[in-house]
């Protein structure tokens, strides 16, 4: 048995002139939660749909649970669970009717009641889908994916558009599934989600993996774990080399009028920075500091924000 639940090698998928996935390699280990992080249009959904057997790749090799889709589609569909972006479940059915419908497709399935308990929708089981909140609907979509007790769970932006509390509820469901040994492939453009849930993350941009590793490793690759971001009054520029001269500053980047310093020791850098600006007679407009995130990794790699698309 292969150690990997999911494998992509040299995956290519084009839509007309647009290349959505341009030679992507991916290996997801059994039992791990693997995140694909990237802006809209990076090729995350296309990749996940190829792995789910919904799209034929133009080139490359795909293996799911050690099998290829060709000739094993019926078996694989029994062993995978999917939540797709934008699926609207039948509005006029009740929660338990929807779960029962999905449950009927699988040879081996859990009881609807235990799935609803797991996603926290037992009280809502008699409500129509149309009466559910966005978060409840999304949990129902995940319940439909979990009802067969799949070996691999695919989640395509499961928390997009949800409020923070609903988001945490979905995370809790994913973590429970993992504790039972399930493998998860999740796409997201929320850094916090990836950092919280994923053992490893692939940062994807323009159809390729541009960075791969545990979230902490990727952040550590920046060389320092804090970011100091500030903007100053007039156009007077200070050269990067002067900032780099400040103790603990590892990198400098500029973004829409503000300067970002990646630094290891904020408490040392900030007073020195104040001093420097004061000496030059520059007025400080904004100043923020935060722990470096995967967003900063993406920014460092591409010069763009994740959310910019």
């Amino acid at each position: 048995m292969s150690d990997f639940a999911l494998v992509c090698e040299g995956l290519v998928k084009c839509y007309g002139d647009v290349t959505a996935v341009a030679g992507l390699d991916l290996q997801v280990r059994r039992g791990e939660c693997f995140g694909m992080l990237g802006p809209n249009g990076a090729g995350k959904t296309t990749t996940i749909e190829v792995l789910q057997g919904l799209l034929e790749p133009d080139a490359g090799r795909v293996e799911v649970l050690g099998l290829s889709w060709k000739g094993h589609a019926a078996e694989l569909r029994q062993r995978l669970g999917s939540q797709l972006q934008e699926t609207r479940l039948p509005n006029k059915l009740t929660v338990e009717e929807v779960v029962r419908l999905f449950r009927s497709f699988y040879r081996r399935a859990r009881s609807g009641e235990s799935v609803l308990a797991e996603v926290g929708l037992v009280e809502k089981r008699r409500s129509w889908v149309s009466k559910l909140s966005g978060g409840q609907r999304q949990r129902l979509a995940v319940a439909c994916a979990l009802v067969s007790e799949p070996e691999v769970l695919f989640l395509d932006e499961p928390t997009t558009g949800l409020d923070p509390q609903s988001r945490r509820q979905v995370w809790e469901i994913v973590q429970q599934f993992r504790r039972r040994g399930g493998t998860v492939l999740i796409t997201t453009h929320y850094m916090e989600e990836a950092q919280r849930l994923c053992d490893r993350v692939a940062i994807i941009d323009q159809g390729k993996v541009i960075a791969l590793g545990a979230p902490a490793e990727l952040i550590a690759s920046l060389g320092a774990e804090h970011v100091v971001e500030f903007s100053v009054g007039d156009g007077a520029t200070i050269g990067d080399e002067i900032y780099l001269g400040l103790p603990g500053v590892e990198a400098v980047s500029r973004d829409a009028g503000s300067v970002r310093l990646t630094a290891s020791r904020v408490h040392v850098v900030v007073p020195r920075l104040m001093h420097l600006l004061q000496d030059r007679g520059l007025e400080l407009h904004t100043l923020t500091t935060h722990h470096a995130t995967l967003e900063d990794v993406f920014l460092a790699l591409t010069g763009r924000h994740l959310r910019d698309g």
Partner: protein
């Protein structure tokens, strides 16, 4: 929830049924609307017997005498007017003809209107009789009003066919396209659901409602207007089921590629509107020129309507409607085969 695994085909069919029953508007269009339509048309075109013919007599010295002679005929409603007003009203269609009194009276009438022609015969008879003509022989008339030959008898089978077409095409076609736009089809594709069971569930759900739909309209026609059912119920059921399959097939075909509700609605109308006109729903297609009739007979709704009328009104057997059943079967087979070939799941 029970722990035994539910059957997918039952669950899919239940879903279709629930979706329909929980949509009050759909219930109205399928059950109430055809009955309301039958009721309104049945009242508007009810058999009232011949009405009095409206005629005018030009005012003048002999007018009152002539008018009195004509009024003895119960079929005539006589108005005395001055010449100009009478002729204006004749051109406007209010009168069937105008009589100018005299030693030899003149009748002005429109020979292209059958009502006008009938009026001329009645007026001629009345005036000749008043002048003393004797009829050489006596002729007896025997009146009949037989159920089966009235407009409502023609209409009810037509509405039945129309309803089977409408619910079949909309029920299946609209449902599939809705699932596609909601990305549910794609979600099902990611599960081990059998595609054949998905499509079959639409047909099974159709069959459940079909019986109710047909019974509602037929019973209404029978109770309210005495529309007959002369053939066997079994033959009727066979025709109705085949008709429903045919239009479920056409509905699937129309929905096989459409990506939007607007797109499928346009296609539906493109397919259905010609059949409203050419398939003998509200009026007989024998009113069309011969070449058009040949084309009309090939339409699936024409075949269904003809078969329904043959069974309901003439008591035809299954064998007697073989040609119509053949036309429907051909449509059903071709539509399903094409639909399955073209079907787009996402």
């Amino acid at each position: 929830m029970a722990d035994t695994r539910p059957s997918p085909i039952v669950q899919l069919t239940l879903w279709r049924l629930r979706e329909f029953l929980r949509e009050p508007e759909a219930l109205f269009w399928v059950f109430a609307f055809p009955i309301l339509l039958a009721f309104a048309l049945g009242i508007a075109f009810r058999s009232r017997g011949p009405q009095a013919i409206q005629i005018a007599v030009e005012d003048g010295p002999l007018a009152s005498l002539t008018a009195a002679d004509l009024r003895r005929s119960p079929r005539l409603d006589v108005h005395v007017l001055d010449s100009a007003a009478a002729h204006d009203a004749l051109h406007g269609g209010r009168f069937a003809l105008v009589v100018r009194p005299g030693a030899s009276p003149a009748i002005t009438y429109d020979s292209t209107r059958s009502e006008s022609e009938v009026a001329r015969l009645v007026v001629t008879n009345a005036l000749q009789g008043a002048a003393g003509r004797e009829d050489p022989i006596a002729i007896r008339g025997v009146g009949v009003t037989e159920p089966g030959a009235r407009y409502i008898d023609f209409l009810i089978p037509g509405l039945l066919g129309l309803n089977i077409m409408g619910t079949g095409m909309w029920g299946v076609g609209f449902g599939i396209v809705k699932n596609r736009t909601e990305k549910l089809l794609k979600r099902f594709l990611a599960s081990p659901m059998r595609r054949s069971e998905y499509l079959l569930s639409f047909i099974l759900a159709r069959l459940v409602f079909l019986g109710l739909e047909v019974a509602a309209l037929l019973l209404f026609g029978h109770w309210a207007f005495g529309v007959p059912l002369r053939g066997s119920l079994l033959v009727l059921a066979a025709i109705v089921v085949l008709g429903a399959m045919t239009f479920a097939g056409l509905g699937t075909l129309v929905a096989s590629r459409a990506r939007t509700i607007e797109g499928v609605s346009g296609l539906m109308n493109l397919v259905m509107v010609p059949m409203w006109i050419f398939s003998g729903v509200f009026f007989a297609y024998s009113n069309f020129p011969d070449s058009v009739q040949v084309a009309a007979r090939v339409l699936p709704l024409t075949a269904l309507n003809d078969a329904l009328r043959a069974v309901l009104l003439d008591g035809a057997t299954l064998w007697g409607t073989a040609a119509e059943l053949g036309v429907m079967t051909a449509w059903a087979v071709i539509a399903f085969a094409l639909a399955l070939k073209m079907f787009r799941w996402e």
